[in-house]
Symmetry: D4
Subunit: 207 residues, 8 copies
Amino acid sequence: ERTGAAEAVYAAGKTPEQVVGALRALREAQPGRVALATRCDAACESAVRGAFGDAVLVEAGVCAVGDFPPAEVGPLAVVCAGTSDLPVAREAEFVARANGVEVRLVADVGVAGLHRLLDRVDRLREAACVVVVAGMDGALPSVVAGLVSAPVVAVPTSVGYGAAFGGLAPLLTMLNSCSPGVSVVNIDNGFGAAMAAVRILGVKPGL
Amino acid sequence: ERTGAAEAVYAAGKTPEQVVGALRALREAQPGRVALATRCDAACESAVRGAFGDAVLVEAGVCAVGDFPPAEVGPLAVVCAGTSDLPVAREAEFVARANGVEVRLVADVGVAGLHRLLDRVDRLREAACVVVVAGMDGALPSVVAGLVSAPVVAVPTSVGYGAAFGGLAPLLTMLNSCSPGVSVVNIDNGFGAAMAAVRILGVKPGL
Amino acid sequence: ERTGAAEAVYAAGKTPEQVVGALRALREAQPGRVALATRCDAACESAVRGAFGDAVLVEAGVCAVGDFPPAEVGPLAVVCAGTSDLPVAREAEFVARANGVEVRLVADVGVAGLHRLLDRVDRLREAACVVVVAGMDGALPSVVAGLVSAPVVAVPTSVGYGAAFGGLAPLLTMLNSCSPGVSVVNIDNGFGAAMAAVRILGVKPGL
Amino acid sequence: ERTGAAEAVYAAGKTPEQVVGALRALREAQPGRVALATRCDAACESAVRGAFGDAVLVEAGVCAVGDFPPAEVGPLAVVCAGTSDLPVAREAEFVARANGVEVRLVADVGVAGLHRLLDRVDRLREAACVVVVAGMDGALPSVVAGLVSAPVVAVPTSVGYGAAFGGLAPLLTMLNSCSPGVSVVNIDNGFGAAMAAVRILGVKPGL
Amino acid sequence: ERTGAAEAVYAAGKTPEQVVGALRALREAQPGRVALATRCDAACESAVRGAFGDAVLVEAGVCAVGDFPPAEVGPLAVVCAGTSDLPVAREAEFVARANGVEVRLVADVGVAGLHRLLDRVDRLREAACVVVVAGMDGALPSVVAGLVSAPVVAVPTSVGYGAAFGGLAPLLTMLNSCSPGVSVVNIDNGFGAAMAAVRILGVKPGL
Amino acid sequence: ERTGAAEAVYAAGKTPEQVVGALRALREAQPGRVALATRCDAACESAVRGAFGDAVLVEAGVCAVGDFPPAEVGPLAVVCAGTSDLPVAREAEFVARANGVEVRLVADVGVAGLHRLLDRVDRLREAACVVVVAGMDGALPSVVAGLVSAPVVAVPTSVGYGAAFGGLAPLLTMLNSCSPGVSVVNIDNGFGAAMAAVRILGVKPGL
Amino acid sequence: ERTGAAEAVYAAGKTPEQVVGALRALREAQPGRVALATRCDAACESAVRGAFGDAVLVEAGVCAVGDFPPAEVGPLAVVCAGTSDLPVAREAEFVARANGVEVRLVADVGVAGLHRLLDRVDRLREAACVVVVAGMDGALPSVVAGLVSAPVVAVPTSVGYGAAFGGLAPLLTMLNSCSPGVSVVNIDNGFGAAMAAVRILGVKPGL
Amino acid sequence: ERTGAAEAVYAAGKTPEQVVGALRALREAQPGRVALATRCDAACESAVRGAFGDAVLVEAGVCAVGDFPPAEVGPLAVVCAGTSDLPVAREAEFVARANGVEVRLVADVGVAGLHRLLDRVDRLREAACVVVVAGMDGALPSVVAGLVSAPVVAVPTSVGYGAAFGGLAPLLTMLNSCSPGVSVVNIDNGFGAAMAAVRILGVKPGL
Ligand SMILES: Nc1ncnc2c1ncn2[C@@H]1O[C@H](COP(=O)(O)O)[C@@H](O)[C@H]1O
Ligand SMILES: Nc1ncnc2c1ncn2[C@@H]1O[C@H](COP(=O)(O)O)[C@@H](O)[C@H]1O
Ligand SMILES: Nc1ncnc2c1ncn2[C@@H]1O[C@H](COP(=O)(O)O)[C@@H](O)[C@H]1O
Ligand SMILES: Nc1ncnc2c1ncn2[C@@H]1O[C@H](COP(=O)(O)O)[C@@H](O)[C@H]1O
Ligand SMILES: [Mg+2]
Ligand SMILES: [Mg+2]
Ligand SMILES: [Mg+2]
Ligand SMILES: [Mg+2]
Ligand SMILES: [Mg+2]
Ligand SMILES: [Mg+2]
Ligand SMILES: [Mg+2]
Ligand SMILES: [Mg+2]
């Protein structure tokens, strides 16, 4: 068995019954581990609540079944510019929490108003890892990575229109970051960014 | 006749003879106006020098024939991160100068090292118009436009590789700038940015 | 504080409550400045009206809260070919008005019937700045910019089908305009074009 | 056998020997018909001249072997903005001539300077068919098709840079022309436009 | 006034009232000419019927107001493979008829079953012009253009899925046709193909 | 060990020494099996000849080291339109031969001249498997697959220009073939098509 | 008549009546052969059941009319990672069965958990042909093709989001497979993969 | 000052003199830190050697000036399939070493031959962080991330042709990895992957 991290079902395109079945299978195979379903709609969330009762926590379209491990690593900073990118940021936050990570959400910073970001630099520098969520121009990770030396995982979002092309614009921005050492996950993939952070925060780099 | 601005020949894909001929025709039609050829290679530059002698100035692949008008509008700030984007920035600078614009080149700022940019804010705020040249992530115009209230014309460059896709990445970044009021010209189009600035600096907006 | 321009909330993807909250925050921070919400749907518009009563004006999906400053700069010409591009043109017009710009809408010109455009040339030449809105082939800005010497801000729209690719076709047309000095904003971004015009009309270019 | 039109070899990517061989085969199969090779480089042209002597005419990268039929249909107008698009326009002109079409080249018109185009309207209206060649914004066919009622075949060219994407920009412009009845051929395909014109000028539309 | 062809309103994205108003304006300006509205939905069609009564004919989402001119040119063959591409083919057919063109619809041929196409060759060769409508691989125009010498106008459709990318696949196929002289209109643009055919069938190519 | 098929080195981007080394390693690991290097340039071919002497056969940029197995399966038909696509077709042919397949090259058919293809139908129907190589419109596989019931493996080529986009056009055509059961390999991938044919001709489908 | 394989109607975009009519026509033309309609929605399925009663079987959006031939070839393995890709896998399975192929569905393997795949290798190696269905990264066919020597037909699916771009990501992955001899069909094209397998399993490769 | 990591100059598009100058500036500003120049060609490498003598180490197009810090973190595994991706892997390896990271290069594994990869699993599991470099299908990171729980940074390469589209194919593959927690850097960006690893290996995640 590969890793102690939570296992996840991707609920989009599955029926509520399929999601419940998949969660049950994960719980049976590994009772001590949190089982997640991401991208749940209301019907799916309610089926999962019906099936698992008190054992389930729901946030940002993610259903988590099982007791969260105590937070022993972190802090992880999850950074975004504002309301529009919040659902993705909160998916990242919740999935990280379900894996025993302490998370700080920093949600009111954006490159168009640098002073708010600069006011938070000290707080950002306390983080052991930073997830930066941004749509439209996707410029935020480049700026943040210039300010901290921790690992920066960038998440482009599909927020925007026209030449944002469903998140392609911030995705390309982030892949081309002029701040060295930014790595990137799929558009809107808060889950994936959290799992990258979980891997990173589990590192024991001494030789 | 539309405008007093310099007229330009696009030299790429033309023979030196064709460029010289086109410049001659422009000079004859409007002797009092500067005639430009952009994207000249060495052979083209030398043919133009041969044809027009002292009347020609050459910089950044641009040949300018005729006396520059005195600088009466500006200052225009031309901003970029460093050496790689300089050729495009200097094309913009030179074309603006040929149109009677006073230009300040600010070439050592980049979003990965914010402090250098912040050190220049006062200088940037003195500009009547700002041209921002950036490749790779193209994040610089968003940050600059958050710091100044003057018009910001953004120029993506083809500097970069891989997912920069020849300048597509910074182009999309700039079109999706989260700082309101940034407008954008074609990739590597320093000439076009300068001409937009010339139009802007000619504005007399009183009712 | 950067600029005296109106601040805007991007309502798409936000709940009516979030939009009202954001507008309230803007008003509190800067009571003397108009607060805008763009891309509002009916539910959002009605929530904003409910919250701000007479202080709100609504047009083209934009809610504006606060007294408009008197029109002291302009005129800005907002040009488009006809009915299909009107919503974007009117977003530009309304946002510019909310920023104290006098606007003239010229909505019945198109390159397939040049004479209508040529009949308006004198009127266009009176404008201090021109916003040109066009979908499909996006050819209008090239033609207009050949006729006036004022700044031209081009707005591609998503009007069209097939190989218009949601506005990509006119976006590329405009970025490649053979008339020098055209700059471009995002597809359907009437708001952004207006904000660029506000920056431009605030220019004081004397040295 | 399908048509009396000239048959053509596409020389790009073939050796001079292969091109000569293909031309010979065409001549043998149909001695009374002109055989063409398009996209020839210098080596290819000289091999063709060596093989066919006086029977070959060469222009714009096209080698034509055999006597041209007398010009009995037309006139076909081939229109472009200037020097850069000329090679494609001349490929179209030469291929049309090789098929017995009378051609008028109108090479000094462009949408950025409408008056030159408007000065030529009467001449354009005399044409039985119009081929319009344009790069960059590709706006010319929309304007021309608004001025004439003859068939308009549009040819995008790869002239331009950056967001012209090798001719994609004018190709999309032309496919989305707001002037009804414009049809389009491949980028730089002067040959194809001429062959479309040959088909059109051979029409006998009486019932 | 440019041409005697029918004028058309593009109804998509307009209210029924706007469409009725635009048709009324066209009728008033040129009472002797058919006025068309394309891409009408049911509500639009019924508003047009309500406004113009017996003077309106409706087919394939096109409303035509006014008496059709007698069919004096043609025949135009409109060719497609089957049921899926029929709506676009019928848009082309109806628009051509509204312009006085005699049309033959050949709707049961496809390149996967060549014999059905070959059975119709004689009929196709009688046509003065051929419009070929095809989705998916878009291979039909190449094959048809190899069989007839008349002008071939190709219309890609958005029929298909996956790597058809909304009609991009057949569009590219047609632009790259290995049969010389095929020209292409926008995806699903039956209207545009008909208008190109109207231009073509109006040709009087004698010198 | 997976399969008895020849193993191949992809020589592009490798030094001649690296290619020779890789071939030697393959030969040592499996002396009874042919070792191939594809996409060899002249320097690479000569290094391989120098290293392996008589044991090497070279064709279409492929170096084959080792004795070919006797041809016991087939025939495989490799079909293309003409000279331009021949290098890819011959890569397929040679690789198939190196794997013990009997191959027939049918190189003079194209959809613009159907009769030549129809003349070969009987020959094509004798083939146990058909590889169809086509550039530009890529229409040939659809037509061939409508005529035979054997497996059809389609190979798009980068032959063409403009909107062929380096082979994208025929690739999309082939993926959207309206003839059921066509499968596709990468652009210019004659090697891959041959290997697919080798897998297919090794099938023993009895239950 | 080309082949004994089932003929199919593509139901998407057709009315239930059109689908029923097309199936009836297929049955009349070839009463002994199964007639299929793919991509049926509920209304279409119920119309087909209403029209053909007991003669119709329905699965995975496919309606099959007529008696299936006895399974005489195979086994075909249809492989996918899990629930999300199942609809496409079952379309392939059902269409293959309708053509007399014995099918084994292997639906619980994925490259993120290699051991489950490795546990099935023996079963996969028994298959005469393998169809591999995968979305997201599309990595499964490369791994499977490294483990078996049978023909591998890869089907990308539109499962995924963001940079999956509707199936483009796994499509490109599969076209670039580093395992030689993988061939690919359109995104979500379970039908096409099955028809390729039917062609392959009908092969009689002896000389 | 942000971080103790080496600073880098991007040499592509710079003259050797510019690169030497930039390295000198970095060394002067921070004498204790290694200064790097990436993407150096031969002329650039020799100018750097000339300027810095023994203080410079060169590998994989990277010039490193200054003493490397002792390796105190790691091991970092840099994994790729073979010779073609080696230059990128070695850029990553060398840059990591210049930052005090112990690196193990695992260069002979690929998904088409799983057993070689499985033979190395234990070695991979010893790594504190894994960089996976892959071109063509880019499937390797998905497989590796399923086998280890350490952070996985994926680097797509431009190795491949046709539908690899210069590295787009493996880039999309990696962004859509079905193994959770893979993050991605730009195409061919070995430097960026190393810098991400440097950030990761500097993590001190205890609360
Ligand atoms: N939001 C998500 N984005 C990307 N991958 C996900 C997401 N949620 C779950 N997954 C992954 O998708 C796979 C589950 O797929 P499935 O078996 O179809 O539910 C697992 O590898 C998960 O790690
Ligand atoms: N229609 C619009 N298009 C583009 N940007 C907008 C638009 N409306 C508002 N914005 C910008 O979006 C940002 C507000 O984002 P948010 O905080 O998510 O509401 C501000 O920078 C606005 O200037
Ligand atoms: N799901 C499918 N995907 C691709 N092609 C299909 C599909 N179903 C049927 N076809 C093909 O589409 C054609 C039928 O198209 P139509 O005549 O419009 O029903 C036939 O060539 C079928 O083989
Ligand atoms: N190979 C590379 N790929 C991406 N970025 C790089 C590379 N090498 C250096 N850089 C970054 O590029 C910037 C240097 O740009 P410049 O000042 O133009 O040399 C710095 O931010 C470096 O971290
Ligand atoms: Mg942002
Ligand atoms: Mg930059
Ligand atoms: Mg327009
Ligand atoms: Mg032009
Ligand atoms: Mg078709
Ligand atoms: Mg072909
Ligand atoms: Mg998968
Ligand atoms: Mg690989």
